[in-house]
């Protein structure tokens, strides 16, 4: 009676799964090519954040680093990744609203590849966003002194975290009724989490109770690890908890997302 009694892709081996996921990625990439404004949230917005915070607020904020821009970049990176990741849910909710998902469900394809294709595309979007921000940051004084390995580690951690968040997006996209409602929820949830973190300020300047929360929430841990990797070339004390959070979110939200999607579409 439930979705679990169905044997989903009976014939699907890893080859057909990859091929199906690639078809989904290809479709999403064509969308981006035909409507480039889909990339605004991972291009223009982060550039504006880099410029606004570094040039407008930067002079007024004291941070435990040599320059505000060096401190700031990790926060901007992770904020952008977080928004792009959860935004996956809005794009999925849009798919659910029109008949396309019904078409996919009537095909002998691997059903989870619809979701995997979606999240993999968003990983590509996030990679593009990181590249753009990195360059813009360099132009206004960002000097990552952590070396190539530190940089690679930072990007890897960001993408892992972003991939995990995109599965939160999938679960929410399948559970929430409309894309518009989901956008409201994302705004209300992700904004406070980025500001009550070490993204833009030193958490030691916050009231004690808020600092206690800020230092323990995953955004701060990922930001601190990325900051340490880009500037010092080591993960610092936050790296292991940051990876555990990402893997933990993925372990919960990957099956939850597939379950919610099946439940929603089998109605």
């Amino acid at each position: 009676m439930t979705a679990t009694t169905r044997r989903e892709p009976a014939a699907a081996g890893i080859g057909t799964w990859l091929s199906d996921a690639w078809q989904m990625v290809k479709r999403n990439l064509i969308h981006i090519r035909r409507t480039p404004e889909l990339l605004l949230d991972v291009t223009i917005s982060p550039i504006m954040f880099v410029l606004l915070f570094s040039l407008v607020f930067g002079g007024a904020i004291d941070v435990p680093r040599d320059s505000y821009i060096n401190f700031l970049m990790a926060g901007i990176f992770v904020q952008t990744i977080a928004f792009a990741g959860i935004y996956t849910g809005v794009l999925l909710a849009n798919d659910l609203k029109n008949g396309m998902i019904d078409r996919f469900r009537s095909l002998p394809m691997s059903q989870s590849s619809v979701l995997t294709g979606r999240t993999l595309t968003d990983l590509l979007r996030a990679t593009l966003a990181v590249a753009i921000m990195w360059l813009v940051g360099m132009a206004v004084g960002f000097r990552p002194s952590g070396g190539v390995l530190g940089g690679v580690g930072a990007v890897g951690l960001m993408l892992l975290f972003g991939f995990a968040l995109s599965w939160i997006g999938v679960a929410m996209g399948a559970l929430v009724r409309t894309p518009e409602a989901l956008q409201g929820i994302i705004f209300a949830a992700v904004f406070p989490l980025t500001f009550v973190s070490s993204a833009f300020v030193d958490t030691a300047t916050m009231p004690d109770w808020l600092e206690w929360f800020a230092n323990r929430q995953p955004m701060t841990l990922v930001i601190d690890a990325v900051r340490s990797l880009t500037l010092d070339g080591t993960g610092g004390p936050a790296a292991v908890p940051a990876i555990l959070w990402s893997v933990g979110i993925l372990a919960v939200c990957f099956p939850l997302g597939i379950w919610a999607f099946n439940r929603r579409t089998l109605q």
Partner: protein, 335 residues
């Protein structure tokens, strides 16, 4: 795997609830290989729910369904490899071109690349979409979308096809085009289940018709068998004023038999058994009762009559009520 006497599309005692709504109340469906079944019924009868269960999109709450002998609940992926589905709303990617949509579907059926390219080319040509093939679907007309959607269901040449209201919302010319395409398909041996609100469509395309209302199959048979249930030829008179329906029914009843009254249409009808001069006698009786007659004639029963006899109302009663209101409003305009 299937014999000609075994149903390729089969359902037994299908049940489905949506909250308080009892969408399906135990329906049976059998479509033998290479045949067309039309499921006919008004909006909300449960037609789409039945198709969605048979096409693995929705889980039934009770009963069982098979496609080509394979259980849709336990082996949905194997069923999907054998079916094509064209839903009520075009399931196309608006931003992809027509060709890209078909190509994607073909590859998701796991057909070899060369087969996909050949089939996509054939279908675009056959469905008269070659000129528009490389334009995004969002630029297509309603008729073009429906054709592309149908083409999408055919990429893998599935032996079983479900068409859910394939012509709803199409203009008459596009509808004729779809009928032509559907007829050709089934001539090629496809087993087809189609749902429709159009009696003419069922009459024209289907071998067998199942009439659905409120989640149940209330009648089934060939178009001729269903028509026979209303009893041979019918005398139908259309009267000029709705307030004379009762008087007209009494006058017609005096000819012998039980008249059917279709109030929205202002029709009063009765079965006639080759009685001579029935039309003349009817008009005289109506005239004597002071009933003004717009039209009168003897005709073979249509599926409209079948539905009226089976359910006491028109399948599209709401629409016809609305249009007869319009007529009355026009009548009241001073000359």
């Amino acid at each position: 795997m299937t014999h000609s006497d075994t149903a390729v599309i089969r359902a037994r005692a299908l049940e489905k609830h949506f909250g308080e709504t009892h969408a399906l109340r135990g329906i049976d469906i059998d479509v033998p290989e290479g045949r067309i079944l039309a499921v006919l019924g008004p909006n909300g009868a449960g037609k789409t729910t039945a198709v969605r269960i048979l096409a693995t999109l929705t889980l039934a709450d009770g009963g069982e369904a098979t496609g080509a002998g394979v259980d849709v609940r336990t082996h949905p992926a194997e069923v999907r490899a054998r079916i094509g589905l064209t839903g009520q709303f075009a399931a196309l990617d608006e931003l992809l071109t027509g060709r890209e949509n078909l190509d994607m579907i073909g590859r998701l059926y796991h057909l070899p690349g060369s087969t996909v390219r050949r089939r996509v080319g054939e279908l675009l040509a056959r469905f008269d979409l070659e000129d528009a093939a490389d334009r995004p679907v969002k630029t297509y007309s309603g008729g073009m979308r429906r054709r592309l959607d149908l083409a999408g269901s055919l990429v893998a040449e599935p032996p079983i096809l479900f068409l859910d209201e394939p012509t709803t919302g199409l203009d008459p010319r596009s509808r004729l085009g779809m009928w032509q395409l559907i007829s050709e398909l089934v001539a090629g041996g496809t087993t087809l289940l189609l749902t429709t609100q159009y009696l003419e469509e069922a009459d024209r395309l289907a071998d067998q018709i199942a009439v659905m209302d409120h989640g149940q199959v209330i009648a089934r048979g060939t178009a001729d068998e269903l028509k026979a249930r209303v009893g041979g030829e019918r005398l139908v008179v259309t009267i000029a004023r709705s307030d004379q329906l009762d008087a007209a029914a009494r006058a017609i009843a005096s000819l012998g038999g039980e008249p059917q009254v279709d109030a929205p249409q202002r029709h009063v009808s009765i079965a006639v058994n080759g009685g001579d001069g029935i039309l003349t006698r009817a008009v005289r009786a109506l005239d004597a009762a002071g009933v003004a007659v717009d039209d009168a004639g003897v005709r073979r029963p249509t599926l409209d009559d079948v539905f009226l006899v089976l359910t006491g109302q028109h399948p599209d009663a709401d629409m016809q009520a609305a249009s007869s209101v319009d007529v009355r409003e026009l009548d009241e305009v001073p000359a």
